[in-house]
Symmetry: C2
Subunit: 348 residues, 2 copies
């Protein structure tokens, strides 16, 4: 099942984008983006070609969670690459309201803490403060964004969001309203600067962009496009989740924790070193292989298949690389505490 | 039919409040309120007795319309009476967002103009600026109110608002969300000051208060009460409406317009002066009779029934009284332009 509130099972990416009506990123487009994750991770799009032919802004929202994990970093680093390469204005809304609406266990204090922790990770990425705006819905909602959500809500019926998101009559009215707020996030740069917007987003969230595309022009705003990413596997081979520590490496994990998590990571089905020397490893099932490739562009497929390199070696290599990366990020995350007010007045 | 978005037909008030589970205002309660419209116009309540036993705040919202009419003035004058008598904090939210959501013909600029015009009428009533707050949803929404709407929305399902308001799947998601925003308006003084809230409100709007009562305590806030009013007939004998000039006298109408409108007002079924002299008038059908009584506490029932007084005389009397009242209001409305910033920074 694949929708904005439920991703489960194996995903046939080609089939999904055919159904969604999105397009694959071809070599020409990939060359213009010029980033190692395109088209490997960011593989499909809507209107990316049109957007790249002029000036565009980027919106990259986040539902704050207890801790961000390294796949989140990857996305924000990609956004920064786009900002650097195309000089784009970046809008980063934190939708703590959606978090609260979707989880009846959370309190407003909980999400406020998460806002702050996530903001540090985002600032640590190095966005240009003069060309970036953060908005935290439950801390510094902008009047223009609220107003825009009202205008857009007027154009979305209950039936539309029900069929798009699988809501029922027992869904709360806040979650049913939220697509209008997310659409307002997406269209804020279009309202403010008259620019079309590119949304780098997980495939499961494409439906928000699609709904926004359906209403934008009716409100005199530019139709947004998106660039869609596949899902990175969790450490256990299943979905990576902010709330399941065994599936993800968090941005604040210390070296011994990273070592332990990678030590336990799913690498495939070989039962012994001898068997692996003989049959070779299984890179297509192996999370360590996937992470080395995605995070560090290290591809040891042949050595793995031939049995030349064993899981222990790959794990040690990944652990070392991740710990260097995280040490640097954690240092920047610490300095980010002094830069918060450059991005938002919410914590002043 | 009687619900928040549709009032039509004759109303059996006793039956309605029985069904709603509200209570009639008795002589003892009426004496504590001490206002000529209680219990004649404001006739029923929820928890008014409990509220009067301690300190309470008042919330009196308004969906701004092109022009306010004299029945709106009546309600705000009643609110001011309560503020003067009980020293209550008064919160006056203008729900231009709801207006926009409910009417696809309106633009944001339209409702902004209406906000201002309505605000002048409200300020002209003479509320104590030190004990009164105005909030205009689409101009100066308070972060606390937005956040509260999210917390309350989490406790209201689509099914609940559908059955309360008669919404369908084709209703837009903004109108379906709006009960949460209205509940946040109602509970804002409870959040801010810890006080229970009294809402003076038309019978058709009681459902908003009822929904709010169902969720307030779950969010640690005081359960609000209300004081319910009957409907005043329009000049034509039908419902008074801001958008039908022939049904209502607007606060900005000039003397000759008032004279003309009262001249055309519905007074009953007598076809000639002779018939009326013989049979007497029909005060229970007569709008002029009703207005003289409600606005000016002039009751000429006996003289009318006996045929001693004729429609022309009542009309002249009402015209004179209304024009004096409006002249004074219009003067205050003009001075209100200089006081706007005491109540809201929205127009600074």
């Amino acid at each position: 099942m694949l929708n904005a509130y439920d991703v489960s099972g194996e995903i046939d990416y080609d089939k999904v984008i055919r159904e969604f009506g999105a397009k694959k990123i071809d070599a020409r487009l990939a060359a213009r983006i010029d980033h190692p994750l395109v088209p490997e991770l960011f593989f499909a799009h809507r209107d990316l070609d049109t957007l790249l032919s002029g000036k565009f802004a980027i919106v990259s929202g986040r539902g704050p969670s207890k801790r961000m994990h390294i796949a989140h970093l990857l996305v924000y680093r990609f956004v920064k690459h786009l900002q650097d390469r195309f000089g784009s204005f970046v809008f980063l809304p934190l939708s703590d309201d959606e978090k609260l609406l979707a989880n009846s266990e959370l309190s407003q204090e909980d999400v406020k803490k998460e806002d702050y922790e996530n903001l540090l990770d985002i600032i640590a990425i190095g966005f240009d403060p003069d060309n970036t705006e953060v908005m935290i819905d439950m801390m510094d909602i902008k009047q223009e964004v609220y107003n825009l959500s009202i205008r857009l809500a007027r154009r979305m019926t209950a039936n539309t969001v029900r069929s798009a998101f699988g809501f029922s009559g027992e869904t709360n009215i806040g979650i049913q309203f939220y697509p209008a707020m997310q659409a307002a996030h997406i269209l804020y740069p279009s309202l403010k600067l008259g620019l079309p917007v590119l949304v780098p987003i997980g495939l499961d969230q494409d439906v928000f962009v699609k709904l926004t595309r359906d209403v934008a022009e009716k409100e005199g705003l530019k139709k947004p496009g998106d660039i869609l990413s596949k899902f990175l596997p969790g450490l256990t081979g299943d979905k990576m989740s902010s709330s399941k520590p065994e599936t993800a490496i968090y941005t604040t994990d210390l070296p011994n924790i990273v070592k332990k998590k990678i030590g336990n990571a799913f690498t495939g089905g070989r039962v012994s070193v001898d068997e692996q020397r003989k049959l070779g490893g299984e890179p297509d099932k192996c999370v360590v292989y996937s992470y080395l490739r995605t995070f560090f562009q290290i591809d040891q497929r042949e050595k793995c298949l031939s049995g030349e390199i064993l899981c222990g070696e790959c794990k040690a290599q990944l652990t070392g690389k991740l710990n260097s990366m995280l040490a640097e990020h954690q240092k920047k995350r610490e300095s980010a505490k002094l830069q918060v007010s450059k991005f938002t007045k919410a914590f002043d």
